[in-house]
Point group: D2
Amino acid sequence: MSENEIRFRSDVTVQLVKSAAQDGDVVFAARVSTQGEQTLATAGEDATARDKGLIRYLMRDRHGSPFEHNSFTFYVEAPIFVFREFMRHRIASYNEESGRYREMRPVFYVPSRERNLVQVGKPGAYVFEPGTADQHELVEESVRTESTSAYRSYQRMLEAGVAREVARTVLPLNLYSSMYTTMNARALMNFLSLRTKKDNAAFPSFPQREIEMVAEQMEEYFRQAMPLTHAAFEDGGRIAP
Amino acid sequence: MSENEIRFRSDVTVQLVKSAAQDGDVVFAARVSTQGEQTLATAGEDATARDKGLIRYLMRDRHGSPFEHNSFTFYVEAPIFVFREFMRHRIASYNEESGRYREMRPVFYVPSRERNLVQVGKPGAYVFEPGTADQHELVEESVRTESTSAYRSYQRMLEAGVAREVARTVLPLNLYSSMYTTMNARALMNFLSLRTKKDNAAFPSFPQREIEMVAEQMEEYFRQAMPLTHAAFEDGGRIAP
Amino acid sequence: MSENEIRFRSDVTVQLVKSAAQDGDVVFAARVSTQGEQTLATAGEDATARDKGLIRYLMRDRHGSPFEHNSFTFYVEAPIFVFREFMRHRIASYNEESGRYREMRPVFYVPSRERNLVQVGKPGAYVFEPGTADQHELVEESVRTESTSAYRSYQRMLEAGVAREVARTVLPLNLYSSMYTTMNARALMNFLSLRTKKDNAAFPSFPQREIEMVAEQMEEYFRQAMPLTHAAFEDGGRIAP
Amino acid sequence: MSENEIRFRSDVTVQLVKSAAQDGDVVFAARVSTQGEQTLATAGEDATARDKGLIRYLMRDRHGSPFEHNSFTFYVEAPIFVFREFMRHRIASYNEESGRYREMRPVFYVPSRERNLVQVGKPGAYVFEPGTADQHELVEESVRTESTSAYRSYQRMLEAGVAREVARTVLPLNLYSSMYTTMNARALMNFLSLRTKKDNAAFPSFPQREIEMVAEQMEEYFRQAMPLTHAAFEDGGRIAP
C-alpha cells in the first residue's frame, strides 16, 4: 500500500508506553501522612487486606493526593475530534504529532455499523439509537468522499510548495493523529469518570462514543496496574477522589 | 444573508469580555510579602515610580506569583486549528462552542493575500516567504472548494437525522469556532512569549501566523489594562516571570 | 501598644479584596458552548429562572468549566498552621508575607473557650468534644508561654544581627501570617467542599476548625457574589462540579 | 535513645523512592510531534548524538512538553520552613506527614557552623556572611532552648488529652517533617532554577540555604537519571523549558 493511499479505520488505538504505577504507591504515600518514615521500611510488602481497606477509605473520603504518586504514559491514535476533547483535561501532559512539522498521513475515521448514529432527547439526557441502513450509508459515503477530496487538495497544495501549516487547514476533523499522554491515577480517574458511561457511576456522563473507546482501553491498563485502586473507584461510583 | 450561506474570513476576533486587572494588583500582592497588612492601607494610591521599579524587579527576578491576582476573560472567534494550539496552554479556563450541542455555522478561514504561504529553512529556524500569485490562487480555490463541499455534506447528514457529533467529523480545521477563555497576567505573558514573534524576545518562537493574530489582539488589551507590567515584560525580553 | 508587644487572637480574618464574579458569568460561558455568539448579545440581562435551571444542570452534570470564568481575591490573616493546609490547594494563586523579607509581628493564635479540644474516635470518623476547664487552661498557658518565649528568642537573634530567615525558624506554627489568594468559583467550591463540615454535604470532610473558620468567611463572600451558583452548590450536596 | 528524646540535625534527607525517567522519554515524545508512529519502533535505541542535539534544541527553543513524560518520586525529610517554600510549587504532588493524624517526633533543625548567618545588602541582592562565633552560639542556644521547651509543652498537652491538631500549634518551624513528592523533569527543572543559586544560571535566584540543600540532592538524582537533559539544562543557563 502506498504511503498516500487513503485508509479508513473505525477503531482507536491505545498502547501503554510505560507506567510506574501500583497500588502500593497509594498505600505508601498515604502512610507518610499517618506514620512517617516507617513507611519506607514496609515498601516491599505486598498489598494486603489492610491496604485494600486503606485505599477504599482514601477514595471514599476524597483523600486524593495519595493517588498522584504514579504515572501512566499512553500512545494514542485517534481522530482529531477525539484529541480536541481529550486535551481539555489539563492535569496531564501531551505531545501530539504536528501538522506543522510533518506531512499528515491519509488515515481517516469512519463510524462502524455498530456506532449509533441518531441522537434523541434533550441536552443532558441524550439517548443514541442505531440509525437506519440508509443513514449509515449516507455517513460512510459522505466521510469517504470528503476525506478523499480534502486529502487530495492537501497534497496538491504541498506539491505546489505551500507550507504544511497552511495546507493542513482543509483537512477534516476525522483525520487520525497520534500523541503521547502522561497522567497519574487521580487524573486518570477523573478522565474516566467524565469520558465513560457506566451504570454504576454516581454521576451521569454523556461522552462521545469515540473518546469513550479511548477511555475504555486506558481503563483496562489502569485496572491491570492498580487493581485495588480500580476496584475502589468502581465500587465508589466511579468518582475521582 | 441566509444562515446557511457559506462565508469566508481571513481575520480573527478577540473581544475583552471583562477584566479585573491593573498594575496596582501586582504591587499590592508583592507588598503582602514584604510589608504585611500595610498593603491594604495604600491600595487606593496610583501606581508611582516606585511601583514601576517594583514591577520591573519582580519581572527580572522571576517572582511570578504577584502577577496572578488578576484576570482577563476574552471571547475569541478563530478557526479550529488555532483553538487546537491555544488549548495546549493549561493554565487557563476554556469554554468553546460545541459541535455536539449546536449546529456549526458555515464560516471558514481562508488566508489573505498578505499571509505568507511558503516556508523555507529547517525546523526551529523556519522563514516564511509570500508565495506566488499561483500559489495563493491554489490555496484560495482549495479552501473554498473543500469547505463548501464539507459543509454541504454536513448539512445533508443533519437533514437525514444523523447526530451532530457524527456529522461534524467531516468539517475541516479551518471552520470557525468561538470560545470564552480566562487567564491571569502571568499565564497571558507565557502565552504571548510563545505565540508571538518579536525582535526583542529573549527566546525564539515560531508561532503559526493565525494564533499570533489572536495573541496580538490579546496583547493590546493587556497593554491597556496593565501598562507598567506590559512595559516590564517588553523590556525584559518578553519572558514570563 | 508597642509594635513588639505580644498579642493573642482567637479569630481569623478574611477580606474580599476584589472579585469579578457573578452568576451571569457562568451562564454566558455555558451558552458559548450551546449557542455561539448570541451569548454576548444577552450579556446585559439579569439572571432569570432559566439561568437558575442552567446553573443547576451544569452543577449536577459536572460541567465544571463554566464556573471558572470569574475570580475572587481574598486577604487572609490566620495562623501558619492554617496556611500550611490552605496552600495544598494548587488551583489558586498565593502571595504570603515572607519571614525572609520582613520581621514577623508578634501575633499568635490561642484557641478560644468555644474551640473543642478533645478528639475521640478513629481516623476518618473523629468527633470533637469541648474539653474541660483544666484542659483549656493548660492549652492557653502553654500557648502563651511558648509563643512569648519563642518571640523573645527571635528578637534577641535579630538584635544580634542574625538573618531573619534563620531567626524565624524558632517561631511556632500558631504565629499569624497574612496572604493574598486568588481563585475562581470552581476552585473555591472544591476548597469549601473539603474545608467545611456541613450536614448536607454528600461526602464527609473533617477540616481542622481553624481552616474551617477561614472557609466560612470565604463562603459568605461567595454566596453574596454568586447566589444562584452557591444555592446550586448547596442543594447538590456541596460537590464541586 | 528514647522515642521522646529530643534530637537536633543540621542536614536534610532526600531519597529517590522511584523514578520512571530517562533521556529517551524526551526524545520519543518529541518525535511523536515530528515523525508520528515511527517513534515507537526506535524506542529501544540508546540515546545518541542525534538525541543529544534534539534535547538541546528542545530546551533552547522552550519546547517544554516533551520533558513531562517521566516522573520522579522523592521522600524528603526537612524542617517545616523548608516544606512551606517547597509546596508553593504547584506542578507537583505532595503527601506530607500530618500532625493531625500522628504525634510528631522531636527532631529539630539547628544550623551548622557552616551555615552563613548574616545577611547584608538589599532585597533582591542579598549576600550572606558567616557570622561570628557569638552569633552561632546564640542561634544554637536559642534553637535548642525553644525547641525543647515547645516539645515539652506539646507532650504535656497530649498527655492531658488535648487533640494533636491543637497541641501541635506550639511547635516551631524548625521541626522536621517528611513527605513524598512526585514531579516530572520539567517541573523539577523549574524548581531547581528557583531553589538553587548557581553561577551559570541565566537568572538570579536567592534561595534559602536549607531548601537549596534539598534541591541539590534532588538535582543529583535528576543528573543520574537524565544526563543529557541535565547537561542541556546546565548549558542553557538553568532555565526550565
